[in-house]
């Protein structure tokens, strides 16, 4: 049993200690973990969903689920990856439940792939043009800096598929951003 830290010490404690405390049922420690990780998880989900409020909702579901199941964590060092996997699973669940809507969007895009895109195209809008699996691989690679192997594990997608998604997705993303005159990718 890890003893609780005095007030204020949590913020200064290293993550392993805070995770151990949270694994022992210390809710304040878990709150500290949420404070530290919320930015990264919310940014990841914003890249995936393109909607701030939806991303925050999924991030909160992720953190609540994390709080309920943190005792199942095998080692404190795995906390970051475990949380990211939870977030990806919540997004996949959401994407599957709204698949019909996505399919309709994709049909419209197929008719006129460039003209249907808003003029205020930004990275998130370009990402939204990619099929969900491809978008996930691209975001995990570029936003999270994960290797193909790590993406394969996190997203439960075969390694070969991850590689092809990243190659095709990168090309498509460049093409979309180039079409809207983004100086970064010209």
């Amino acid at each position: 049993m890890t003893p609780a830290l005095p007030g204020g010490a949590l913020a200064a404690a290293n993550e392993t200690t805070v995770v151990l405390l949270a694994m022992n049922g210390d809710d304040e420690a878990y709150g500290e973990l949420v404070r530290r990780r919320q930015g990264a998880i919310r940014n990841l989900l914003r890249r995936l969903t393109r909607e701030g409020s939806l991303a925050d909702d999924l991030a909160q579901q992720t953190f609540v689920h994390g709080w309920q199941s943190i005792r199942a964590l095998k080692s404190p060092g795995a906390f970051g990856g475990w949380l990211r996997k939870l977030a990806v699973n919540f997004w996949l669940q959401h994407a599957r439940s709204s698949r019909q809507e996505v399919a309709l969007d994709e049909d419209l895009r197929a008719e006129n792939p460039v003209a249907s895109v808003s003029r205020q195209l930004d990275l998130d809008a370009a990402l939204a043009q990619l099929p969900s699996d491809v978008r996930l691989c691209i975001v995990l690679a570029y936003n999270e800096g994960m290797s193909h192997g790590e993406i394969s594990q996190t997203a439960s997608i075969p390694l070969g598929t991850v590689k092809s998604h990243i190659t095709r997705g990168s090309a498509r993303l460049r093409e979309l951003l180039h079409a809207y005159g983004d100086a970064h990718v010209q």
Binding site: D27, G31, V34, R35, Q38, G39, A40, R42, N43, R46, R47, D56, A59, Q60, F63, V64, W67, Q68, D122, L123, D124, A141, Y142, N143, E144, G145, S147, H148, G149, K163, I166, S170, L173, R174, L177, D182, H184, V185
Partner: protein, 116 residues
């Protein structure tokens, strides 16, 4: 906010830079407040589920216990009656004979009667 430094596979540097630029520092106060409220709701739900499970188990026990007790009493009575007739059998000459036969078979199987 974590910075992306580790890329073990070939990746487009321009896209990488674009993703880094797009990463925002998000205001956390409202998010954390909302998370704490959600956690409190989840905690309350968890507590209610536990209470409901205990109540359900209590009701189940109250419903099932009389029939379990009745069955147990019937079984005990039947066993008692049977053991009375077995007792009479064991002390009869036939019972002695059968007991000795069983004992003999056991000794034979364990090899206790074998010459060394």
């Amino acid at each position: 906010m974590p910075t992306v430094t580790r890329m073990s596979n070939e990746i487009d540097d321009r896209l990488l830079a674009l993703f880094a630029e797009a990463r925002q520092t998000l205001p956390d106060a409202e998010f954390l407040q909302s998370f704490l409220a959600r956690m409190e709701r989840a905690r309350r739900r968890q507590r209610l589920r536990r209470i409901a499970a205990v109540v359900l188990l209590g009701l189940l026990a109250a419903w099932v216990t009389p029939s379990i007790l009745a069955t147990t009493a019937a079984v005990a009575q039947a066993v008692g009656e049977q053991s009375r007739s077995y007792g009479a059998l064991v002390i009869s000459p036939a019972g002695w004979g059968i007991s000795m036969l069983i004992g003999f078979i056991v000794l034979l199987r364990t090899g206790a009667l074998r010459r060394r």
